[in-house]
Subunit: 210 residues, 2 copies
DNA sequence: TGTTGTGAAGTATTTCACAGCC
DNA sequence: GGCTGTGAAATACTTCACAACA
């Protein structure tokens, strides 16, 4: 167990969980066929994905929804809450801070940092924007486990290193660069320009083939 | 040529282009080896990726930076500008609207829509937030080719259908649902909750294996 | 009976390795 | 001599198909 799980599988697990969110009542069961229909995949794929983590379906019946939901949460590591530090109080930072789905999933933003003196001291909900001068200190004090870097590329590498130094366990990176951090600290990149480029590529391809 | 190109290749092409952005002067050349070092991949992968679109390197020398940059832009479909409609004037919409990298890459936001009466009429830069009542009409009038859906899941399917109806060529979708649109209209999904879940999964795995 | 869990088969993607060319 | 472009080999991922079993 716990061999290397491909990123594609992880994304599907997240889909499965979301599919179950709007599921009727509780106590019901769902088959791999139904689950596949709600995602964008096949029944065999669903079963294979789940089988990597044990076998918690009942043959002839399917998966019990409550249990499946709980197992998926556990697998994805969201059967607990995460203490998050937000680095960068710009537009993207604000959007994330306000994103209701985050709190709902147990991601608690416990500190906000920005280098802009004009922003330091600003109140955001119950938080106050802090100076990067106290970065490591605050991360340690508040036991921050996960940081979101919503800052320009030029500052991202430095803040990533300082975050790792302060004992952070993972980084969600919006800056369009590859962070160089020790392999024990996972980095998840979100690159909005890349997404748009993938889209314009797909459109261009469609036009060429038309 | 133009067989099916995997998504992974497209993402790498985007990386290669970004790597070249900060390249010294012009007139230089770069080898697949150097390009690979800047991305997160191998020299063979770089050559294979590029070879899908023709052969524009020089054996013994490498790739001419200016030419490669131009070819990559062309391949990705950003050697032109795109007329973009933004649907949803919330935090995420605002963050995207203000994202400097977008204009820089030729994505021009030419219209903004929001269903909230309080927001309709608000001025955003040179744009004014419009009512969805005039959605199709405005998209057609302004020749919008690409829409960004930054609205809740409950409204996304409807707006996607209306956008397709109005002749839009592609959709960047921030709503956490699978849009059901004709295959000729590519959809690129960005799911922030999924990214965070992928991160917490990676951390949990790292801890399990430790 | 109906549906899971899983080896085996089939595809897709990546890496290797080297001929071909600058 | 050095580096690309590309078939062939290796690896990774998905789908098939069926035994196991509630």
């Amino acid at each position: 167990m716990t061999r290397k799980i491909p990123q594609s599988t992880v994304r599907r697990l997240s889909h499965y969980l979301r599919s179950l969110e709007g599921f009727e009542g509780s106590g019901g069961t769902i088959s791999s066929e139904e689950l596949a229909a709600r995602g964008q995949t096949t029944a065999a794929q669903v079963r294979k994905d789940l089988s990597h983590f044990g076998s918690f379906g009942k043959r002839g019946l399917g998966y019990q929804v409550d249990e499946l939901r709980a197992r998926l949460r556990q697998i994805l590591g969201i059967d607990r809450s995460w203490r998050v530090g937000l680095v960068g109080a710009g537009r993207i930072g604000l959007a994330l801070f306000d994103y209701p789905a985050f709190q709902a999933r147990g991601y608690d933003c416990v500190a906000i940092f920005d280098a802009d003196p004009a922003k330091i001291g600003e109140a955001w909900g119950e938080q106050t924007v802090r100076s990067p001068d106290v970065f490591e200190e605050v991360l340690r004090e508040l036991d921050v486990e996960l940081v979101i870097l919503a800052i320009p590329a030029s500052a991202a590498q430095e803040m990533a290193e300082r975050a790792v130094e302060a004992g952070v366990k993972g980084i969600l990176n919006f800056a369009p660069i590859r962070l160089n951090v020790p392999p024990k600290v996972p980095v998840q990149d979100v690159n909005l320009v890349m997404e748009l480029e993938a889209l314009s590529f797909a459109i261009s391809q469609a036009e060429r083939n038309a």
